[in-house]
């Protein structure tokens, strides 16, 4: 039977504090996250049979050595995974295949990015076409915002409500980079980055790492979290065009990669009505506009009504379908390779009732969603309680 539904379990999770961690290097972050996950699973490094590490930039890491070297775990099969912002979740995806296929029993999926080692004004430039340039990361999503304003009458104020909500959640989370509440006015007054997105519409530059111990349910039953281990209900990946700016006829009102990945994930998990069946979601809010468009693409709401839904409180922690109860990328920043794993860390702990910050009430199914590049690569994971 295709898919990994109910065939993969998360036995332990770890996550560093995210932020401007100047004094720590990548080895520090990776080791801390992985060891926290190992402790949570009640195992030692020697129990790890294989690992996947998500990392975006070549200055952050190349090859499996990115994991092997800091951990001093030599001779194991380790793969470096890169798929834009979905790198971390793609590391998990590969770990899922390995354990579901029975090739390995206990593996680690992790991600790390020491973004600030390359400065903090926007993502570091690496490669790229000599003249057929893209634009900055905020620029890419700003193109969608400009169009949404034009077609649906959304405003900067609509975007601001997303940032305000996420900051409210982030205040409660001890590992978040930003833990201070902001107002709509703060957002509107912030300096412009790529119109119409201002500074508070953009997630910050941050360092961080997160890790997961991945195994099969029958093994998780024998480990520390034997009573409350979480299982994968679906994992999907969809890669759309990396050149949407040159795509004839593209309307910029939502992203095909998310729509496709969500459809695949819902089919695998057997979900017919995501709005009702998904208890909460950590979605990729690299920019406020992205969270709004994600809501439509993931089928939570009619796409043009996402802004209204946020204003109505649909995605608050107490709302119909909480989005980013952790505070999202907005409060954690986006150390690219780490983010997918951090989301899975969060979703796991929410389902286990031991969320670090805001706790969603009685969650059954949690979603993690990443959207990378010029909205080209989307990965969606749905986790659920095993019982």
């Amino acid at each position: 039977m295709p898919g990994i539904k109910d065939r993969v379990a998360i036995a332990g999770v770890g996550c560093t504090k995210f932020g401007e961690i100047w004094e720590k290097d990548q080895e520090d972050l990776l080791v801390e996250a992985v060891y926290e996950a190992l402790d949570d699973a009640g195992i030692t490094p020697q129990d790890i049979e294989a690992a996947w590490v998500g990392v975006m930039y070549s200055f952050t890491g190349m090859s499996g050595g990115t994991f092997a070297e800091p951990m001093k775990l030599f001779g194991k099969p380790v793969t470096r995974v890169e798929n834009f912002c979905a790198s971390g979740m793609d590391a998990f995806r590969n770990a899922c295949f390995a354990v579901a296929a029975g090739v390995y029993d206990i593996v680690v999926a992790c991600g790390v990015e020491k973004l600030l080692d390359q400065g903090s004004s926007g993502l570091p430039m690496e490669g790229g076409h000599p003249v057929m340039g893209g634009t900055s990361a905020p620029g890419m999503f700003a193109l969608a915002a400009t169009r949404a304003f034009h077609e649906w009458g959304w405003t900067k104020e609509d975007l601001a409500h997303v940032a305000v909500k996420n900051h409210k959640n982030g205040v409660a989370h001890p590992k978040a980079h930003f833990r201070r509440a902001i107002t709509v006015d703060d957002v509107l007054k912030a300096p412009m980055i790529a119109s119409p997105l201002g500074r508070f519409d953009c997630c910050a530059m941050s360092d961080g790492a997160a890790a997961l111990v991945v195994t099969r349910p029958e093994i998780a039953k024998t480990m520390k979290h034997k009573d409350d281990y979480v299982v994968a209900k679906a994992n999907a990946l969809a890669v759309d065009s990396t050149f949407p700016m040159w795509r004839p006829g593209f309307n910029w009102l939502g992203f095909p990669a998310t729509k496709k990945a969500a459809a695949m994930a819902y089919e695998e998990a057997g979900i017919k009505d995501p709005r009702k069946e998904i208890s909460f979601a950590e979605v990729h809010d690299c920019f406020t506009i992205t969270e709004l468009l994600n809501m439509g693409d993931l089928g939570f709401v009619d796409p043009s009504k996402a802004a209204e839904a946020v204003r109505d409180g649909m995605t608050e922690v107490e709302g119909d379908i909480p989005v980013n109860p952790s505070g999202g990328l907005k409060c954690f920043g986006h150390p690219i390779g780490a983010t997918g794993c951090r989301m899975l860390y969060e979703v796991t702990k929410q389902l286990q009732g031991r969320a670090d910050g805001m706790q969603v009430k009685d969650p059954v199914l949690g979603m993690a969603h990443n959207l990378g590049g010029p909205a080209s690569v989307c990965s969606v994971t749905i986790l659920g309680r095993h019982d």
Binding site: G128, M132, A145, R147, M192, A194, M245, P248
Partner: protein
């Protein structure tokens, strides 16, 4: 017979008032304004802009040669004419050459083009002239010079004939620059004016007038280059011409554009000429060239082609000297230099310089950059080359402050363009006020110098609000 088949001119959109320049330094100012090339313009891009006007309605495959004339060629070892040929999508079996080292280069190139056609060595030669000469800060030169370009297509047939070239050479030190001089230098102008300009221009013009049996009354317009308006007027008198017979030098609204000056003046003269007019053209720089242009027919109107007047009147005033200093790179600034490669520059030149996209034979979708597999229907290798339209509208955009990993206070407008005839392209917008950008706004494409990746000039397209539209 050699004729002018077509011509065109280009003036950068920006102007700076001479009073602003004078005030910046606390020196005297003279009336008027001067044209200022944008930071992304140079003699190649301006020359190409003029060449596109000249080539409107003309088959690029008909051109047998390109002569590029400038004292400010962006390369001193590497041809500029070949870049022009690439952007205009000319044949490969043509001759290209650069003419330089004197503001007289434009008429030297015209003479060489004339000779090529007369001798049967070519049927059509495109002469392109452009300059953006470097003026020493805190001197009058900044006020006097201007930037611009012109292009003339000489051919075996055309509405106006060209003949009678007379040249003299002269070794008088007028304005000069050695290879490693940063700015134009000049000695006391009286020396060059009296013994250079006057002597050479009179000699060449009189030789031509005699050969063609022209008296002062036969000349409809004297089109004379001039670095100095007073000398220009004296020259006219010396040749027996009245003021109304002298073609305006463009000094008041443009400045002295150097190499393209005489051709820009000729373009303006032709715009107003009628059948039967005889134009005596004389150009100075280390000697002089003179030639006769005889107008036989009206030049055909080409839809969308813009005369020099449009470029003259359609302008944006720079607010102050600082903007000029920034465009001219007078101050050292740290700028992000993207990676680049001579390999990709060469391999991609058809899609980058000549802006070729593809049209799928199966589903008809116009797409760019040219792919192996159609983005719409997935068919492999069933695509035809198609040149993208140079006009379109804004589909969506952003004003991006993050450039090269740095935050800039002036954002770069990045535009997703819906091209006329299909296809989307993503380009920076230039020559605009970012606040004016809006969805649906009409645009045209313009070739500019993007950056110096890998140590060479990386030319590519940007878009701009339709000039004069």
């Amino acid at each position: 017979m050699v004729a002018i088949a077509s011509y065109g001119a280009y003036i950068p959109i920006y102007r700076l008032g001479r009073q602003e320049m004078a005030q910046a330094w606390g020196i005297p100012g003279v009336p008027g304004e001067r044209s200022v090339a944008n930071a992304d313009e140079d003699s190649i891009t301006m020359g190409i802009a003029a060449a596109f006007e000249c080539m409107a309605g003309i088959d690029p495959a008909s051109i047998d040669g390109v002569y590029f004339a400038s004292t400010t060629p962006p390369y001193t070892e590497k041809q500029c004419a070949s870049v022009v040929a690439g952007a205009l999508d000319l044949r490969q079996d043509i001759f290209t050459a650069d003419f330089t080292d004197s503001v007289r280069a434009a008429s030297v190139a015209m003479r060489a083009a004339y000779d090529a056609i007369e001798s049967g060595s070519a049927k059509s030669v495109l002469v392109v002239a452009a300059d953006n000469r470097p003026a020493e800060p805190e001197t009058m030169w900044e006020q006097l010079l201007g930037d611009g370009a012109a292009a003339f297509l000489l051919s075996k047939e055309g509405p106006a004939t060209v003949r009678g070239f007379q040249s003299v050479t002269s070794e008088v030190i007028g304005p000069w620059r050695r290879s490693d001089d940063r700015y134009v230098r000049a000695f006391e102008p009286k020396l060059d004016t009296k013994y250079g300009y006057m002597v050479s221009m009179v000699a060449a013009a009189k030789a031509l007038a005699e050969k063609e049996s022209l008296g002062p009354k036969d000349i409809s317009k004297g089109v004379f280059s001039a670095g100095d308006p007073r000398a220009h007027a004296v020259l006219g008198r010396q040749l027996g011409l009245e003021m109304p017979q002298l073609q305006d030098t463009g000094f008041l609204l443009l400045g002295n554009t150097g190499t393209p000056q005489v051709l820009m003046m000729l373009a303006a003269a032709l715009d107003m000429a009628k059948a039967g007019d005889k134009l005596l053209v004389a150009n100075y720089g280390d000697g002089a060239d003179a030639f006769l242009v005889e107008v036989n027919d009206a030049f055909p109107t080409v839809a969308g082609k813009r005369p020099l007047q449009t470029y003259l009147m359609n302008k944006r005033m720079l607010p102050n000297y600082n903007a000029y200093a920034s465009f001219r790179k007078l101050m050292d600034r740290d700028r992000y230099v993207p990676p680049s490669s001579p390999v990709t520059y060469w391999r991609d030149s058809k899609m980058e310089l000549a802006l070729y996209g593809s049209r799928c034979r199966k589903c008809g979708t116009v797409q760019y950059p040219p792919p192996r597999v159609c983005v719409e229907c997935g068919t492999k290798d069933e695509l035809d080359d198609v040149q993208l339209a140079r006009k379109g509208t804004v589909f969506t955009f952003t004003l991006d402050h993050l450039v090269g990993g740095e935050y800039l206070s002036t954002p770069v407008p990045r535009i997703v363009i819906e091209l006329e005839g299909g296809g989307r392209i993503f380009l920076q917008m230039t020559d605009c006020d970012p606040k004016e950008v809006s969805i649906g706004m009409p645009l045209e494409l313009t070739l500019r110098r993007l950056h110096e990746g890998a140590g060479f000039h990386n030319y590519y397209w940007k878009c701009q609000p339709v000039r004069g539209g």
